[in-house]
Symmetry: D2
Subunit: 235 residues, 4 copies
């Protein structure tokens, strides 16, 4: 389905996080997007939280610029960050508005604890470590969505127009190109800091652990959609 | 029970967060500490997570030193931070060891999502704002434990030796003195940044929101003990 | 010459820093750009250091994204940062190459102490304070170059082609538009944090001091060109 | 004179920075401390700036706590930081007061550009890198003063009471013990991140460069004393 964007390090991390990666990329939420069975109210809760997520995910990519050690690392990180906050988030707001969620709703929304845990864990990885630590935490979101997009693309006619639009955003050339750029950054930045064979460096285990943690938090993020919709129903 | 350590700003924040403050300081977990009804397995799960919490809470206090704007702010923050990591955490490890939880167990423990959310939210408050933002997030833990300690102190003979020891740590002179020092820092640091009447400053609402958020995450932290013990039983 | 980009706060800061502002914007280096009397070797030393400066100035603007408190603050900061690192720096490299300074030369250059002092002071303002502190430090560079560009534009035919190109870059519509966007961000971000009349807030004096400090460091940056060219000659 | 506190990595860094290390540790200022020939007015200017330096050097050590990855790294960094801000700085203020420099004078002093460059470079090393990057910048100050103190100790009877007091502070057991603790932290923290032989890691060159940069800034700090005293005389 995916060649891991030609990043051997991404493949190693995914293998290390195998169970968590499956729980994340094959989550009930994801399968429901693919066959249209996902409850619309669950998706709406996800959309609102994902707007708040994108704000902090962009801040975390801004930290990648801060922590870059050369012009090339800076340029890639800056371009990704700018695309997230000045383009992707606008598309997101557009979808929300069309579905009846106004910008005011988005700004008034309460950040769910699952959202808080994931985004602030990323910010702290940036503060405590170097660019390799941060990329290990940014990777699951970026590449997982890319992989899910490509896998569901084959079946996009089975699902609803709303979910098809989501799938097309992530299997589309633009998003896939960002994945490729991130993979190149990941390969060079990690080897630049840990050596040609990063698995021999004492930091490798810590980076793997960060990747697993962020992957787990991604799976929790899907579950959050169900929880919030259920809470809302019971309220 | 408590005069809020002579801090009018703390009183305002607590009033603003009234419901969340009650959910936190009168949580089933807390009541169970006071009357001995708290399941030991729940307390053990809390103890393990609290060790991990203390590491990151100390890091957040180190950020207070980084963000201090004069020697006085630095000295108070530094002393609190040093006491947390070089004294309180040792007491904590001692209790754990006596109860059969080794240092190796503590270091091998997986950080619960409730723990992650709270501690990393504090670190990011430090990174994104100034010292006032950070103190609004550090306050609920510091003062809540102080208040709970004082309230339960009156009934400490009703509970088990283990829980009595916990109560005595937090109602004790040493911990209460740290609360007083933090209250003084809070009053001066917030007024130094927001003005003599901080409630008139546009940042006031944001600080109140941070205090509510951290208080909510404290309540979640108690609930986490029950969740983890229940997960363990089912495993 | 300039209406301070419709920013009353900028006018206040410039008035506060009046002497330093004159030393910066009417520095011998600047006058030499305007009448062509600036020694080419001095300008070359400046160009090399300015490349290194731009890398860190971009990092400081990335910190503005990190410290933004709403989508609007994020979007402006992100766009400026991306333009700096993915556009302006390329123009800069182009000029350097044409003048015989290769990318390898740029990367091998030693950062001068004047450069270090200014850029790292900006990064630390970001780390220690909030967005208002950071903007007070980013402002002198942004608006000073804009003001110098506009003033020298009238006389651009009196100078050499190389210096005319420099003048045209900074009096040009594109750069002036960035100044306008920064002024809007400055007005809203500072008032959002200090209140409608920021001069009544206790932080105002500190922000003025930061603006003076950064302005002084800008004047030192011009002097650095002369010092480095002189050191080189004596070597 | 010194066995580099049993730190092979410190020896490697010093060898790499050999010329800069000599310029720093055998600076005219240092020799003048040893034989009493240093002008008192130069020393007074140094004392004032060193107070401001200590505030930021303490902040940089607070960042070491933030960037620590285990309890042991945290505890050492926290203890050093707390000793700096809650003990050493008090001694410093005491000396200043006895010599006629009040706390008000200290707080009113303008930070010299050499001071700014060094301290903010340290803060940014903390923000951009990990603990190894930060320690490479903190090391020259800590170990250089320790080495100078030990070397001058032999001749302390040749100098004035004021300079003898300075020498005794740095050759004393207390300060030397902090050097030993820092050396242990350095050895373990760098190897923990770069591997058993850090010289084989791609980051090694960058750490050496940071050590040279900080050593150069230390030499500039001594020169600053002469410059400020001379500026004052001419004013």
């Amino acid at each position: 389905m995916s060649n891991d964007y030609n990043s051997p390090l991404l493949s190693l991390w995914k293998n290390h996080a195998a169970d968590a990666w499956t729980r994340y990329t094959e989550h009930t939420f994801v399968e429901g997007l693919g066959d249209g069975s996902l409850d619309r109210s669950v998706f709406m809760q996800y959309l609102i939280q994902d707007y708040l997520f994108l704000l902090h995910y962009s801040r975390a990519w801004a930290m990648a610029v801060v922590k870059a050690e050369n012009e090339s690392e800076m340029r890639t990180s800056a371009a990704i960050m700018n695309a997230l906050i000045n383009e992707e988030i606008q598309l997101h707001i557009g979808v929300c508005e069309r579905e009846g969620i106004t910008v005011a709703d988005l700004n008034a929304a309460t950040e769910a604890v699952e959202n808080l845990a994931y985004t602030r864990y990323a910010m702290d990885a940036a503060l405590s470590g170097d660019l390799a630590d941060l990329l290990a935490v940014l990777a699951p979101c970026m590449f997982g969505y890319g992989e899910i997009g490509l896998r569901l693309a084959a079946h996009r006619d089975n699902t609803t127009p709303l979910y098809r639009e989501w799938i097309e955003a992530y299997c589309g050339d633009e998003y896939q190109a960002v994945c490729v750029a991130t993979a190149t950054l990941l390969e060079t930045a990690v080897r630049h800091r840990l050596g040609d064979d990063p698995t021999l460096n004492p930091r490798w285990a810590g980076l793997c652990q960060r990747f697993v943690q962020a992957t787990t938090l991604e799976a929790d993020f899907w579950s959050m959609g169900f929880r919030l919709a259920s809470d809302l129903e019971q309220a």
